[in-house]
Symmetry: C2
Subunit: 381 residues, 2 copies
């Protein structure tokens, strides 16, 4: 794999590339796979996700230009597909036979799918709280799922990663970023936002576990600016649950490294993580951004608000919108600012959580037309 | 709503429109919403779904150019979002306050989401077999869900549709096509396939309940051909379960109308329908296509095959691939033909079905690293 792609790109027309790109791999010259053989690039239709304008929700909280990036449109319905597409492509090109990962679900589903597409074996470690639906999805791709308590996963993954032929999709290390190839995949979020909104985005808001998505997106904007100039680099805003606030805790102190959280807890399983990436914290500082924590009640309210305008996002994603609301309420987002909230995964991943959003108004009707009319008009049956 | 859009389009450059369109509403000049006020067009990021090349699966069955259109990338994870986006836009523009629909799940979820986005009420009728997960999704958008036995739904929907201010998203009528505005939304599948593959597609394979998606896609190709010329119009191939084969039964007889199936049954809930649209049958005849039935075993095998290459589709969608396999095995698809198989919805909609695809190989490990290694190497613990 060659790393001189930025140098090579300076000699090319990046704006032209961006104006023509329609799919994820059209960005290959900006990714660390440019020199891989064509057969080694894995495609399941990842990326190219919609951006939707949220005028009504924005108006409720005093933002005129609020947008949602819908990462639930990815092939395994989360943003992880961008990370995994690049990682598994690199792993196969390098001759690995099996990919291994530790995940609450989104990463595991993606690894399972891309490994299947690549013809590689996959082994994923999931905690007992991963939803039945996600386990079924992961297994349907033919991956082996090992369910284990979280305190064992680091050593188990290290053991698996050390075996010949096994490639760790997510390196579980405190502090440093995860798999560097995967991070590059997240840059495509920046490229697509540039295509969709132009070069004047004020803030990008990301729900963070370790913060790899935030960091990779920031890296994408930074390189875009270096390569072809942006009107501005967006502020990167990381949102975490109050019970797993490794980034907000460090940010509040101006600390150089993310805090470690003992007993991390949150209703938002996908971002209930004890540590975050120092690179993500750096991206927040470097961009003039912020790290915000939100509590479980705020997260559920945000998910219900999204549902009320037709958007189903998992609770971890709804946390990002909760963060936007919190910042807007505190006057930390300008009314005119172009704000993008990244909704990283689909509500359908955790059906039990959907039931938290509102009292299910499901009625069993099996008798008469009159009963139907009564139910709809809100009368007692 | 004006219907003279084809006439107007003759004066425009359709090829240019198609070369520039990036999102669903970029096709608005080809849809019956061109004259609606901008505020009446509802967008959740529907359409613009990926097309992926399936070289390996194709090679297994003797097809060199097999592609999958991944409709599970839509905002409510099915192709229905195309139908509903247009229908609800029209309903709101016409002043309706509530949309009503009858559905096993995909249509209902879509109606719930788009109604929420549009600020309209939604009432949907679902049968008892709709998955818990789908009910939770529908309710999370704030729609009212009425669960009722299927034999009551026609009269219940007619009753609801007759009330002032209520707009029926799917008109439940034998024979005729459903909501004509919605059908137009499916034309965008043809436009996107033209963008993705050019004007030389040999066959498009669709799983069919009533066959609205097949008909709408055929209409899209037909109008494209009239407006700017195609190298060929694709053969439209409809696939239904053996227990609900209203189209294959009629097709085998050369009958002018779809058959009615008493006691329709199939493992593939979304396409277990007693009647189909005569318009779909007409599209099959007019395009030189075919109607094929597949049994439940073939459907499950097809879903497992899709999973083995990283694609999770609901069983109804897998039926389309089962149909492709069946036609290829019988020599009814040329090795060199460009064949597009439309995967209409996501596997995650029916998690219990995912468990049918393979024996779940889930192990509970909570003890030692050695146990992890043993599990991965296939040894007994």
């Amino acid at each position: 794999v060659s790393y001189d792609y930025v140098a090579r790109l300076r000699a090319r027309s990046v704006p032209e590339l961006l104006s023509k790109a329609r799919t994820f791999w059209d960005f290959a010259p900006l990714l660390p796979v440019d020199d891989l053989e064509r057969r080694s690039v894995i495609d399941l239709g990842q990326g190219s996700t919609p951006l939707i304008a949220a005028a009504e929700l924005g108006a409720r909280i005093g933002l005129k230009r609020l947008f949602f990036k819908i990462e639930g449109a990815n092939p395994t319905w989360s943003f992880k597909d961008r990370y995994v597409a690049v990682t598994v492509s690199v792993a196969r090109a390098a001759g690995f036979r099996r990919v291994v990962a530790s995940s609450t679900g989104n990463l595991a589903a993606s690894v399972a799918a891309f490994a299947a597409r690549a013809g590689l074996d996959a082994v994923v470690l999931c905690p007992p709280e991963t939803s039945r639906e996600l386990i079924a999805l992961i297994a349907s791709y033919g991956a082996r799922v090992l369910i284990m308590d979280w305190d064992m996963r680091a050593s188990a993954l290290a053991e698996l990663a050390s075996a010949a032929g096994n490639f760790p999709v997510g390196l579980f290390m405190p502090g440093p970023i995860s798999n560097p190839f995967g991070i590059e995949g997240y840059k495509t979020i920046a490229y697509e936002l540039y295509q969709q909104l132009g070069s004047r985005i004020d803030s990008v808001v990301f729900p963070c576990a370790r913060g790899n998505g935030l960091y990779g997106t920031w890296k994408g904007f930074k390189e875009l600016d270096e390569l072809c100039g942006l009107e501005r680099r967006p502020r990167m805003i990381g949102v975490q649950p109050a019970g797993a606030a490794s980034l907000p805790t460090a940010f509040a102190r101006g600390a150089p490294a993310a805090a470690t959280i003992d007993g991390a807890h949150s209703i938002a399983t996908s971002i209930r993580e004890s540590i975050a990436s120092d690179a993500a914290l750096h991206a927040i500082y470097a961009s003039g951004g912020a790290a915000v924590s939100v509590n479980d009640r705020q997260i559920v309210e945000a998910a219900a608000d999204l549902g009320s305008v037709g958007i189903s996002a998992e609770l971890a994603s709804a946390a990002a919108f909760a963060g936007v609301r919190s910042l807007a309420a505190e006057g930390n987002l300008d009314e005119e600012a172009v704000v993008v909230c990244v909704l990283t995964s689909a509500g359908l991943k955790w059906p039990a959580d959907l039931d938290r959003l509102r009292a299910p108004d499901v009625r069993h009707i099996a008798t008469t037309k009159e009963a139907v009319i009564a139910a709809v008009s809100g009368q007692a049956q």
